[in-house]
């Protein structure tokens, strides 16, 4: 009964979305306020209807209603509650419901909080957003209905893939979707602007918080996924350049570019058509990710059950929306007024370079991910592209980007003074040099690559800190004056500083881990010892236990340093009988500077167990750096300016004249 209710709510949502697509759009063209007014209640109703459908599916999972095919195929009565719930989006049909739920959530948020939006723009944005909803609700109802019944119902379900039964992964898809789908908002704004034929600084001001929110969620989602891969797959790596990882990384790169180019539109009224194009492309890349995972065009760990019909349908959605938007772009963008002019050496110039480099980086990942597909289609040859390609092509693009990140924020708008900026960079040079010397001293007889990486991280941190110090007049003014300046600084300035520092910390972690990771593999019987990077690890015992829906072997490993007890860790090896699949649960002892990572392999009491240990220097900095980026984004998002929407244009100009130049 409840499943049927969910099904009904989904059909209702489709009908509401149809109304929301057509009526407000027509109203905006006719300048009819009552027709435009339909958008707001429709967006709310659509969100509620989809929330009911989502709730109904969740109910079926929680109560283990195996008469629903979707539940029978992906759940099991013995599964812990958390994984019953996360199982809702652990499969194709349920994840699509989550997809449209988030899509409607964003529409609902614009309807509720976009009070300051001009009515025609708001109506058009909501109607474009609803049209995406129509496409995907149709997709769900026609090809991927999660509410279909199964008769007779099986006694128990087939269980969720055990690798996905993990707290890290329970929240990875929702975060990722918040990011992917969040870019739909930037897309809807872009298309609405193309319909209106007008882009002004105020437009950028409305787009930025939505883009920023999506970017934060995507950053968090990718971080969670990478963290999960690190501790769950049991071999110490954290990024594999897997096609599906790349599919989430491409919108992140172009979304980052969008975030920065929107600043230029907002402050200087320039780069308008480029920003529109980026908004379209970022969402296109998000849709492409959805397509690639579900069409079976690329093979990957992440691939859902493959069905050509579904693949074709999503491709049709992709072509319709992205193709349509790009046609409008080709027609409308040339007639858009060019905005403020600027010299190549200026803040705008720096942001243009940022955009170019990020676009090249996106293109690099795009080519590496899709080259096998293109080659196969043209010549029938089959190849696979692995990490070496990405390391050789992606990293060189990142180097100038990081160099630029320290300089860019120091340049003034319109016409910057490069030599003045350079003279402010002494701190970046000093920090970069100091860190390189330190790293070189620590690892003097090893290759120089990590030294370069650390020099870059130091340069970025130095430049960012100096820029912040100059902004509040630290060491130049009295401390009390600096503090009061710091209080008045807009939150978006703090956001930028934190995000850039976060990247610097991330670089340290990534460089250190790839250069200095060490690994030991031993066959250990109880009480055998080994040592790694100054730590001593001893296998105390291995016990057989029973989990809720799995058997497990749990090892107790004592870690000592210089003979002194540090901690005990408990790596596990689980076996899930329903899916006939083993998983490893690594145990990690972490300090701020490194992880000792212990993973238990196959074995027995007589023959001993395989024990793998890694010493991963600075790897916590990878997650810390990403979290700081997310935090920077959140602080920037809480900026009053973004929260209340755009004030009048005149007020905005005044802020610029006062010299309070904010940044992303």
């Amino acid at each position: 009964m409840i499943a049927e209710l969910g099904h009904y709510a989904l059909v209702l949502a489709l009908l509401i979305a149809l109304v929301q697509t057509t009526v407000p759009l027509y109203g905006a063209a006719r300048n009819d306020f009552s027709l435009m007014g339909v958008a707001q209640p429709a967006a709310t109703a659509q969100f509620i209807a989809i929330a009911i459908a989502f709730g109904a599916l969740t109910h079926a999972y929680v109560t283990s209603d195996f008469s629903v095919i979707n539940v029978a195929e992906n759940s099991h009565s013995l599964k812990p509650l958390l994984y019953k719930i996360s199982g809702v989006w652990g499969n194709h049909e349920g994840s699509m419901i989550l997809w449209v739920l988030i899509l409607a959530l964003f529409g609902f948020a614009v309807a509720q909080f976009g009070i300051h939006l001009p009515p025609t723009l708001k109506a058009r944005v909501l109607s474009v957003q609803a049209s995406i909803g129509v496409a995907f609700l149709g997709f769900i109802l026609l090809t991927s209905n999660p509410f279909l019944r199964l008769d007779p119902a099986p006694i128990d379900g087939r269980d969720l893939n055990p690798l996905l039964q993990d707290p890290g992964l329970a929240f990875h898809p929702p975060m990722l979707y918040l990011g992917y789908v969040g870019f739909s908002m930037a897309f809807s704004f872009a298309v609405a602007a193309l319909i209106e034929g007008r882009v002004d600084p105020a437009w950028a001001r409305w787009v930025r918080p939505w883009t920023l929110a999506a970017w934060i969620a995507l950053t968090a989602g990718i971080t969670l996924g990478s963290w999960w891969a690190y501790y769950e797959l049991g071999w110490g790596g954290w990024w594999y350049w897997d096609p599906v990882e790349n599919a989430s990384f491409m919108p992140w790169l172009s979304g980052t570019a969008l975030l920065h180019s929107a600043v230029v539109v907002e402050k200087r009224d320039a780069l308008k058509s480029w920003t529109i194009l980026l908004a379209i492309l970022t969402f296109a890349l998000s849709l492409m990710g959805t397509f690639l995972v579900r069409s079976g065009v690329l093979t990957s760990v992440h691939a859902f059950a493959v069905d050509p019909e579904r693949g074709l349908y999503i491709l049709a959605i992709l072509v319709l929306f992205v193709g349509g938007a790009l046609i409008m772009f080709a027609l409308r963008a040339p007639s858009m007024k060019l905005g403020g002019l600027f010299q190549p050496i200026s803040r705008e110039g720096g942001l243009v370079m940022n955009n170019l480099l990020l676009s090249v980086a996106t293109a690099t990942v795009f080519i590496g991910t899709l080259y096998p597909l293109f080659l196969d289609a043209t010549t029938g040859q089959k190849v696979s592209v692995g990490p070496p390609f990405f390391n050789a092509t992606f990293v060189p693009v990142m180097i100038p980007l990081v160099l630029l990140m320290a300089i860019g924020p120091m340049l003034a708008w319109k016409r910057g003074d490069l030599s003045a900026a350079m003279s402010r960079l002494w701190f970046a040079v000093a920090l970069s040099f100091g860190i390189s010397i330190f790293v070189f001293w620590l690892h003097s007889n090893e290759p120089l690559t990590p030294v370069i990486g650390f020099a870059l991280a130091g340069w970025l941190a130095g430049g960012t800190l100096k820029e912040f110090a100059d902004r509040i007049g630290l060491f130049r003014d009295r401390l009390s004056r600096s503090l009061s300046k710091a209080r008045r600084l807009p939150r978006s300035a703090y956001g930028m500083t934190l995000a850039h520092l976060g990247l610097s910390i991330f670089i340290c972690g990534a460089v250190a881990d790839s250069a200095w990771r060490t690994e030991v593999v031993i066959n250990a019987k109880e009480r055998d010892k080994t040592s790694i990077a100054g730590f001593e690890a001893q296998l105390e015992s291995v016990n057989r236990l029973e989990g809720p829906n799995y058997h497990l072997e749990r090892a107790t490993v004592v870690i000592r340093k210089n003979g002194e007890y540090v901690t005990r860790v408990f790596p596990e090896r689980r076996f899930y009988p329903v899916q006939q699949m083993p998983t490893t649960e690594a145990a990690i002892y972490t300090t701020l500077l490194a992880d000792v990572y212990v993973s238990l392999g196959e074995g027995s009491k007589d023959q001993g167990w395989t024990l793998r240990l890694w010493y991963n220097p600075l790897i916590p900095w990878i997650w810390a750096g990403c979290l700081i980026m997310v935090l920077g984004g959140l602080i920037s998002l809480s900026d009053r300016r973004l929260r209340i929407g755009a004030p009048f244009k005149r007020a905005h100009k005044k802020v610029q004249e006062n010299g309070l130049l904010e940044n992303a």
Binding site: P308, L312, L315, Q381, K382, G601
Partner: protein, 182 residues
């Protein structure tokens, strides 16, 4: 002229979309071996051994009996998923498995086998991926079924599992064994 630039993104997108559509419209599932390779002899190969204890693989080694050839890498997540099943095939002695270690570091691959067990009769190292290209490997893991004349009879892309083995590979093995006996 300036207007034409704005058509660029659209053209680029159309080309990409065509490439996306081709494999689906042709009904080509990347998991299925292009028919051109089926019944063909395996390409020439001569691979150095991974372990000191087992010889490497050359064409001669793959002739003479029905067997599986499995491309794997220690850096490949899905390979881990199928490994346990390969171990079970090995224990049950249904069919011998020959391993080709694809673009891997020797130590990493050794550690992997030490950790998860070694299901292979012999293991050869495909250091530069040349052999994988000859075989048309799409991505690791990938498994080929070879008959006793050294001809490819079936190919599976992606991790093997019990259900795939039972549904897709077992019937071919049975048919091949029948031919030989009858």
């Amino acid at each position: 002229m300036r207007k034409l630039i704005y058509l660029g993104p659209l053209l680029f997108f159309i080309i990409t979309a065509v490439y996306f559509a081709l494999p689906i419209l042709k009904g080509k599932d990347p998991r299925i071996l292009p028919s051109a390779m089926i019944e063909k002899n395996i390409p020439d190969l001569n691979l150095p051994p991974l372990l000191e204890t087992k010889p490497g693989i050359d064409k001669q080694a793959l002739m003479g009996e029905i067997q599986l050839v499995n491309f794997f890498s220690s850096w490949c997540g899905p390979c881990r998923t199928e490994h346990d099943f390969l171990m079970r095939i090995n224990k049950s002695e249904i069919i011998p498995i020959y391993g080709i270690n694809y673009k891997d570091k020797q130590n990493a691959a050794k550690a992997w086998l030490l950790d998860l067990g070694d299901p292979y009769e012999r293991i050869g190292r495909d250091i530069d991926g040349r052999t994988a290209i000859d075989w048309g490997v799409y991505g690791v893991p990938e498994t080929y079924l070879i008959d006793k004349h050294g001809r490819i009879q079936y190919r599976h892309v992606g991790p093997l599992s019990e259900s795939i083995f039972k549904e897709k590979i077992s019937p071919v093995i049975k048919a091949l064994r029948k031919q030989t006996n009858g």
